[in-house]
């Protein structure tokens, strides 16, 4: 996959850099349609113009209660996947960390708010770990991924080991996530 390194804007979308190589914020225009609104989430021809080019292999939907943290997850090489992440309702604090040793932004983190009221999505390339914290009940996150799930390659690092300043020091978290290996101790598959 190739990523465009510059800012792009057209009437329907704009893409902003995050400071992590290949990771972008994608803003789409919400269109009024009749009495409601239509949000474009993924349109292959428009996204291709900024170098985001992948076939959707999975669509995943998660809902989280206020105070829930999920992460930091990634799928290990050679089954690593890129993903486009959108918040459909509620609001989350979204975080990524670059785990690619060869990347110029290796170990750099980026955080942002994603909300159902805005239409900002985050494009996360292969080799980044991702997690989020729900500010509101019923925060709904949609993932569109470039590859299918592989249980063997499903992996993660501990949420509080990558230098991310989470909004809550005591989030609601699964046992599995709480027991994930810390960044400094994990074997890097990238």
């Amino acid at each position: 996959m190739q990523y465009s390194p510059f800012f792009v804007s057209n009437p329907h979308m704009s893409v902003r850099e995050t400071g992590i190589a290949g990771c972008f914020l994608v803003e789409r225009t919400a269109l009024r349609n009749g009495s409601g609104t239509v949000h474009d989430l993924y349109d292959s021809s428009t996204l291709r113009q900024v170098g985001i080019d992948f076939t959707i292999h999975e669509v995943l939907l998660s809902t989280s209660a206020k105070g829930v943290l999920r992460g930091l997850h990634f799928q290990a090489a050679p089954h690593s996947t890129a993903k486009l992440v959108a918040c459909l309702s509620g609001e989350v604090f979204d975080a990524v960390v670059d785990l690619r040793p060869k990347s110029q932004t290796y170990l750099k983190t980026f955080t942002t708010r994603l909300s159902g009221k805005s239409n900002t999505m985050i494009f996360i390339p292969e080799g980044l770990a991702h997690g989020f914290y729900a500010y509101e009940d019923n925060s709904t996150i949609l993932y569109m991924t470039s590859g299918v799930f592989s249980a063997k390659h499903d992996a993660g690092i501990h949420w509080n080991s990558a230098g991310i300043e989470w909004p809550d020091p005591n989030p609601i978290i699964s046992e599995r996530d709480q027991n994930l290996v810390r960044l400094e101790a994990f074997e890097n598959p990238f």
Binding site: S35, D40, Y42, L88, A134, N138, V148
Partner: protein, 177 residues
């Protein structure tokens, strides 16, 4: 991973994902490329939209010409949606059949609508949102008028766009095709 429930329209499925629920919330897979491919279903989706509709908004009925490579996947992400589909494929065993189902969040049941089947929906709850995956963006969209099919809509005066209100009737469409 999914249950593919047949509907009264050939090639149209209600797809039930496995929803994992715990104290944090829910997690479900709505689409899996390989599974759809193995099942012989359309599995290339290059246009994803998210529609918010206040209660009593009706959209449709829209369809894409029967070219075999187009399909629509619809998931209610919040609220509740009454889906109505009509089979317009003359060579189909279920030609003319009207199928309806109410799908609501958070069951995440998804409706798979093949090309040649017209689809419309009515939002039957406040803050209803529908997630749609389409095989490709279509600028030429055909449609038939919502009141011209054999279906008892549960509301008499839904909010319908001017564009949809001007669509031809089912019998006009059948005469010209």
């Amino acid at each position: 991973m999914f249950e593919f429930l047949p509907t009264t329209i050939e090639g149209c499925y209600q797809i039930r994902p496995r929803v994992l629920a715990d104290h944090r919330g829910t997690f479900s897979k709505l689409f899996h490329f390989n599974t759809f491919s193995e099942k012989g279903l359309v599995h290339q989706f290059s246009d994803v939209d998210y529609l918010s509709s206040p209660r009593n908004t009706l959209r449709g009925l829209h369809f894409h010409p029967d070219d075999g490579e187009y399909a629509l996947l619809l998931t209610c992400a919040s609220g509740s949606v009454l889906h109505v589909a009509v089979d317009l494929r003359k060579n189909s065993k279920t030609y003319g059949t009207v199928y309806s189902v109410t799908l609501e969040s958070p069951t995440a049941d998804t409706l798979y609508i093949p090309a040649g089947v017209a689809h419309g929906f009515l939002s039957v709850a406040d803050d209803t949102t529908l997630l749609t995956l389409a095989s490709h963006r279509t600028s030429v969209r055909s449609g038939i008028h919502w009141q011209s099919i054999d279906f008892d809509w549960p509301v008499a005066n839904p909010v319908v766009s001017e564009e949809d209100q001007r669509l031809m009737t089912l019998s006009e469409y059948q005469r010209q095709s």
